[in-house]
């Protein structure tokens, strides 16, 4: 192990004495310290803290990612090209040990920088929050919605595919009786899905929409939060305004004596437990469209089987439709951990990203020169990003060309191989106060590090072991 650590130490020394690395350190420090102090956000304290967290974590992850790729490729190739590596491999050190030593050295440097950067960002955000004279309600809102870690429960969705197939079958039956030209099945099904989802998100005036949640903790004592965003008339961030509506929660209970007596319509005798929609308010509530809103719910709304039913009635003053998009929830949130813990988890995922990048860069530079290795790694990562975009966009637009289909299916294949870096970015969740679940972290760890990353790292080590170092032309 002495030889292993000596290589790790050498990598440290090499990096620390490199001018490019020193410059990078200055840039990183400048970003980490200056950026939070210059951010204005949307003018609110809440927005300021959110933007500070999101931007800073993203910038740090980006700079460190670039630093990792550059440093790993540089460390792996430079001493090979200057023949310094000849001195190492002529000593009793296996090439795998050399590879792992260099890889560990690079990773440790960037982990150290990550630790420093994340600590500074955390310190600055907390310091700004404590020293700034934010209004009490803003402070409370930040505490509840940002500087927290809440588990998210999404409403249960119906089987949209089954619904699409059913609708398609209906239309197919109708088409058989008419002379209309039929569409291709896959295109038609995709269109059905889109229409169903659009219809699901739409809420006409005076109508109510129900959302169903399950698996909530039945013994919860703390309040629940319902986070939602609605658009009035059209799904666009422009021309949004305030609207009105009433939230209801399905409650199952036997009304007590007091409830019966105060009933304004007249005395009602209820002996059996009943389920009914209890309004949050008997008067229409005002809410802003186009932005996220939160309402607090009593934990008693959770049924003994861990389910909750919520409904909303559209009472828009102009008679316009409201739109609740599927990704916007409404989400049910329960506080389960503190901000520090959530922030640490986000930082760990950045570390995981750096581990993967270090391994990829080291693997690429096992057989390639420094510029080629950097190009390969960056190209690989860009493929990941573009493939995600292409696959996400779908190809159900009629009359697409052959190249579009080629790009689409190639992207699907690429997504099996490449690692899209955006999956490691948890700054959105942290700034929204949403818990980064261990299950999500484990999924990312296994899917991207173990399944996709590790084989590439092992391939890199194998190639490095087989490589004839003496063939490298000295620079």
């Amino acid at each position: 192990m002495i030889s292993f650590f000596s290589i790790v130490k050498l990598t440290w020394r090499s990096a620390i004495r490199s001018h490019i690395f020193q410059l990078l350190l200055v840039v990183l420090t400048a970003f980490v310290i200056i950026l939070p102090l210059t951010i204005a956000g949307d003018g609110t304290a809440y927005g300021y803290i959110q933007v500070s967290l999101k931007y800073n974590l993203s910038v740090v992850a980006f700079i460190l990612s670039m630093s990792t790729i550059w440093l790993a490729c540089s460390v792996m190739t430079q001493d090979m090209e200057s023949y310094q590596l000849h001195m190492i491999v002529s000593k009793p050190v296996s090439r795998m040990k050399v590879w792992l030593g260099k890889c560990t050295g690079v990773l440790l440097i960037n982990s150290f920088l990550l630790l420093i950067s994340c600590s500074v960002i955390y310190g600055i955000v907390v310091w700004q929050f404590n020293r700034s004279h934010f209004p009490a309600d803003e402070k409370k809102k930040i505490e509840n919605e940002v500087m927290t870690a809440r588990r998210v429960f999404y409403p249960q969705l119906p089987n949209i595919n089954a619904m699409a197939r059913e609708e398609y079958a209906k239309r197919l039956a109708a088409a058989k009786t008419s002379s209309a030209k039929g569409e291709r099945e896959d295109v038609a099904l995709r269109e059905m899905r889109r229409q169903i989802i659009a219809k699901m998100s739409e809420l006409p005036v005076s109508a109510s929409k129900i959302w169903f949640y399950k698996n909530l903790p039945v013994d919860l004592k703390a309040p629940l939060y319902l986070r939602y965003r609605a658009y009035v008339d059209k799904i666009s961030s422009k021309d949004q305004r305030e609207t009105y509506g009433i939230w209801h929660v399905a409650v199952t209970r036997k009304p007590d004596e007091k409830t019966s007596k105060t009933d304004v319509v007249g005395p009602v005798k209820v002996t059996e437990p009943v389920t009914y929609w209890e309004p949050r308010s008997y008067y229409p509530e005002k809410m802003m469209c186009g932005v996220f809103n939160e309402i607090t719910l009593n934990p008693a709304v959770i049924a003994p089987d861990g389910t909750v039913n919520i409904s909303f009635t559209n009472l828009d003053q102009s008679g316009k439709n409201l739109h609740f998009q599927v990704p916007d929830g409404p989400k049910m949130l329960i506080r389960v951990a503190g901000f520090f813990e959530n922030y640490t988890r986000a930082s760990f995922l950045i570390l995981l990203q750096l581990i993967i990048l270090t391994g990829l860069a080291c693997a690429a530079s096992s057989v390639l020169s420094m510029p080629t290795a950097i190009f390969m790694v960056v190209a690989y990562l860009l493929f990941g990003t573009f493939s995600t975009f292409l696959v996400g966009a779908g190809i159900d637009v009629p009359d697409l060309g052959l190249t579009d289909y080629f790009a689409y299916y190639m992207s699907i294949i690429l997504l099996w191989l490449v690692i899209p870096l955006q999956v490691f970015d948890m700054s959105g969740l942290v700034s929204a106060g949403e818990l980064i679940e261990f299950s999500l972290m484990a999924k990312i760890f296994f899917k991207f590090l173990v399944v996709k990353g590790l084989p590439l790292f092992l391939l890199g080590i194998w190639l490095y072991r087989r490589r004839e170092m003496g063939l490298v032309i000295r620079k």
């Binding site: 030889s3 000596s6 001195m87 002529s90 009793p92 050190v93």
Partner: protein, 398 residues
């Protein structure tokens, strides 16, 4: 000349290295079906002009290149075997050291690659720095070193593990004559201590001074191989070296030669020193006059940990054993001619052995308090001359 063991440290059979282009087509055959051995305890010179295949052969020995055909083994194992490398020291032809590391850090790093403890690394590094005369520069980054200093630190790192087999690629490249002399003396000292050394060099005089055997490569093939005696002796000519002859004696000698050689060409002249010898004499003289020279010189101490082996044996004891052997051989009545030949060869070997051993003995006597720190380089010429006289007496002036 010390006895050379027959155990091969390196064995190459049909060794071939073909460089190929991107498509796998043969581009150049750098080494072409060569066979050679490096035997334990010998200093072998690998000679050849640029592009002859020397560096390719060395790279194959170090596992940096893989043979395209043939077999290559070091200590009976593959050159790529990690454990084999524990016994190898390598000095590359140029400074391939990490420029940002200081001399001390450099040696510490290479020591760590052998998994030595930090105390051991520190001890060895200190001793090696002293040995190669770089103690004063221990904290200086290697990148700031002159070429000569870089060679010295390169030599030091090659010896950090007390290797059994040293590969020295152009060891005197970049060194001044004084440094060359020190390096050559170091090689001889290592040889005396039982180390096997492979030296590649363009400087033929360096090779001549230190090598037992040479291999001359050209175009990837071995063109000549053998001991220096075999290769360099001109059997058709004789040289007689005498003290300065007076004119009468010269005339007598010439007369005898004219009468006996009958028209053959001959000449009587004063022998010449080589420029290197002359230069070293001037420097030695200057040194005695001015204690502080401007150049870097060896610290003059051999590192303790470098295995001393033969050095610890008493020269007298070895002499006795060798003489006994000589007497035994001379007693062989059944083959008097063969016995006489053996006696003659062994006496010659004894004479050479004694020269070395007595030189050591003299050094020990001169500095008894430095028992473990015998000067590495430059035993006094007078001691050797005295040793020669003693040998002559012991051999009965034969």
């Amino acid at each position: 000349m010390p006895e050379i063991n027959s155990v091969p440290v390196v064995k190459a059979t049909g060794l071939t290295k073909t460089f190929r282009d991107f498509w796998g087509r043969p581009k150049a055959k750098a080494v072409n079906d060569i066979d050679f051995e490096v035997r334990e305890g010998e200093v072998l010179g690998l000679l050849g002009p640029n592009g002859s295949g020397k560096s390719t052969t060395v790279k194959m020995l170090l596992g940096l290149l893989y043979p395209s055909a043939g077999n290559l083994s070091i200590f009976g194992r593959s050159p790529r075997d990690v454990d084999t490398k524990k016994r190898i020291g390598y000095l590359p032809e140029e400074t391939y050291l990490y420029k940002y590391l200081s001399a001390m850090e450099t040696l510490d790093f290479f020591g760590a690659l052998f998994n030595f403890s930090s105390e051991e690394r520190k001890k060895r590094s200190e001793q090696l720095l002293d040995m190669v005369g770089l103690s004063h520069a221990r904290r200086r980054p290697v990148g700031e070193f002159s070429k000569g200093m870089a060679r010295r630190i390169g030599l030091a790192q090659a010896m950090i593990n007390d290797p059994s087999f040293l590969i020295l690629d152009e060891p005197t490249s970049g060194l001044d004559p004084l440094g060359c002399k020190e390096v050559k003396e170091l090689i001889l000292l290592l040889k005396k201590r039982g180390k096997t050394v492979l030296v590649t060099s363009h400087l033929l005089s360096d090779v001549e001074d230190v090598c037992d055997r040479v291999i001359i490569l050209y175009g990837g093939s071995i063109r000549a191989t053998g001991t220096l005696g075999e290769l360099l002796t001109i059997p058709q000519e004789s040289t007689i070296t005498t003290p300065m002859l007076n004119p009468e004696l010269t005339e007598k000698l010439l007369k005898i030669l004219r009468e006996n050689l009958k028209g053959e060409e001959f000449r009587v002249e004063h022998p010449r020193k080589t420029l290197e010898q002359f230069f070293l004499e001037v420097i030695d003289k200057a040194r005695t006059e001015i204690a502080n020279t401007s150049g870097v010189t060896s610290g003059g101490k051999i590192a303790d940990y470098l295995s001393s082996g033969e050095r610890e044996k008493s020269g007298t004891e070895i002499l006795r054993k060798l003489t006994e052997k000589t007497v035994d051989a001379s007693d062989d009545k059944k083959a008097p001619a063969a016995a006489e030949k053996i006696v003659r060869e062994e006496k010659k070997a004894v004479a050479e052995k004694l020269t070395e051993l007595l030189a050591d003995e003299n050094v020990k006597k001169a500095a008894p308090e430095e028992k473990a720190e015998t000067p590495v380089f430059g035993n006094d010429r007078k001691d050797i001359d005295e040793a020669n006289k003693k040998i002559q007496q012991l051999l009965g002036n034969k």
